[in-house]
Amino acid sequence: MWKETLLLTKRSLLVTLRNPFSFIPNLIISVFFLLVYTSGLSGISALPQFGGVDYLNFILPVSIVSGAVGGAGGAGQALVKDIENGYFARLLLTPVSRTAIVLGPMIAGMLQLFVQTLLIFGMAFLLGLTIPAGAPGFFFTVLLALGFGLGFAGYSVGVALKTRNAQAAQAGTLLFFPLIFLSTTFVPKELIEAEWLKVAATINPTTYIMEGMRGVLLWEDIDWSALSKGLGVALVLGLAMVVFAATNARSALKK
């Protein structure tokens, strides 16, 4: 199964590269977020609750996560195109496992978000980013982004298979856009005043991804508790979405 998954991932990547407009706009938006937040809001970090943390380190996860939410829809849209042009049916007619068929575009989607995350990091370094925890901080942030990216790419693939509609595949992930704002996105939890927003932030998986990233980006000592929660959420999300997508593979053909 892994050989086929690899072949199908390569093919999905090739198709993505041949349609640069499927990923370039989102990439620009993520980098733009980083620029705007850093230059416009960095005064906040002078507040004592920030404990001397650089605002760039604080806001970097927001840029990465929102980039992932915006970019993950691409995987589902690519799949809708396959369903519409009949290529998906041709794949179902091969002896390849259904899981490999849905994993191909999911992994390609995840790798796309991986490259995007590296580029955002590159931009942040240009803006003067330093990571107090060093290389592990960088490594774990990227790992969290990969897990979250796989989950969201899987979600958009699953929605694509269920609805066979490109707009739905894109809108499906954008639905989660508010999640970014119902979280500890712009200020630490201690600074959130509205009780409902605190509750929303607590049940929101995005919070744990973002907190996990901050746990490795902000201080010299890695916050292992936040990191393990974040990795746990990313793992569960990723696996659940693989299952969701694979179980919907056959229903995509029903007329």
């Binding site: 093919r11 009949g86 998906f88 794949l91 091969t94 002896p95």
Partner: protein, 306 residues
């Protein structure tokens, strides 16, 4: 060999394929003939493991289409109604990937890809992205893709719908060649009576999900008797008078009579003469599959867009 027993598909309350049974022998060209929405594509999708039947059973070379999906997929090549091609890849890339997905090594897949491009006359275009191909070229590439793993049974779902007569002829030749050279069993669906008549060894007629007749083209035509005489009149009343004398059916001033040979013909001519009736045209015709269809279903054959 394809063996189908009381195959049924229901979507909710609606039964789109109703207890269809038939058998296709090795090396045969078998046509499933019927108008749009008769249940042809649904039957193909069930036989090719794409959708699950609601009832009945089907076997492909002895493998059950539900319980032994994987083995079935190795036996069959399927060209669905819409071509299954990703237009962002080149013809060669698509063929290579297809070979690899069927377990070939890179070298095997490469050799097979070149061989097939040659077979369907696309050797010059293999490096081009499929988005630049014409409709006919896409169909030929699609056919090549279905042949990659050397299937012994081919399913062609409306292989020539929407093609111009020249491309249609090309596909027909290809189908005959595959059948003759490799003894490939071919199951094709079509809404063109002519296509079934030209290509198929045996024909099954399907209408509203039900299989209503099966046999060779000659057997089917034989079901409605031999020749017939067709007369057209400018006045409906004249047609009615001749019908009263000889029987037959009248439709829009056109009278169709069953014929028993020259004798009927001369009787009709004499009758017209004696009663001073003038027919606009008089034809003696061999029965067509059209006639079979009308006789069996009680309604005329509707083609797409009519």
């Amino acid at each position: 060999m394809i063996r189908v027993h009381e195959l049924t598909k229901r979507y909710g309350e609606q039964e789109v394929v109703k207890q269809v049974s038939f058998q296709v022998e090795e090396g045969e060209i078998f046509a499933f003939l019927g108008p749009n929405g008769a249940g042809k594509s649904t039957t193909v999708q069930m036989l090719t493991t794409l959708i699950r039947p609601s009832g009945g059973s089907a076997e492909i070379n002895g493998y059950d289409v539900v319980k032994q999906e994987q083995q079935v997929r190795l036996q069959i090549g399927v060209a669905l109604q819409e071509t299954g091609i990703d237009e962002d890849l080149t013809g060669e890339e698509l063929l290579l990937l297809q070979g690899r997905l069927f377990g070939m090594t890179r070298e095997e897949a490469k050799a097979r890809a070149l061989e097939l491009l040659r077979l369907v006359g696309l050797e010059e275009d293999g490096a081009q992205r499929v988005g630049r191909y014409s409709g006919g070229m896409k169909r030929r590439l699609d056919l090549a893709l279905t042949l990659v793993h050397r299937p012994t049974i081919l399913f062609l779902d409306e292989p020539t719908t929407g093609l111009d007569p020249a491309s249609r002829q090309q596909i027909w030749n290809e189908v005959r060649r595959l059948n003759e050279e490799f003894n490939t069993t071919i199951f094709l669906t079509t809404q063109y009576l002519e296509e079934a008549d030209q290509l198929a060894d045996r024909i099954a007629i399907i209408d509203e999900g039900r299989l209503i007749a099966e046999g060779t083209a000659d057997e089917l035509k034989g079901m409605i008797g031999g020749e017939r005489i067709e007369l057209t009149f400018s006045e409906g009343a004249a047609a009615e008078r001749v019908r009263a004398a000889f029987g037959g059916t009248v439709e829009k001033g056109r009278l169709i009579l069953p014929s028993t040979g020259m004798e009927t013909l001369s009787q009709v001519v004499r009758y017209l003469d004696e009663h001073q009736l003038t027919a606009e045209t008089l034809l003696v015709k061999q029965p067509s599959l059209d006639d079979v269809f009308i006789r069996l279903t009680g309604h005329a054959y509707e083609k797409e867009g009519e």
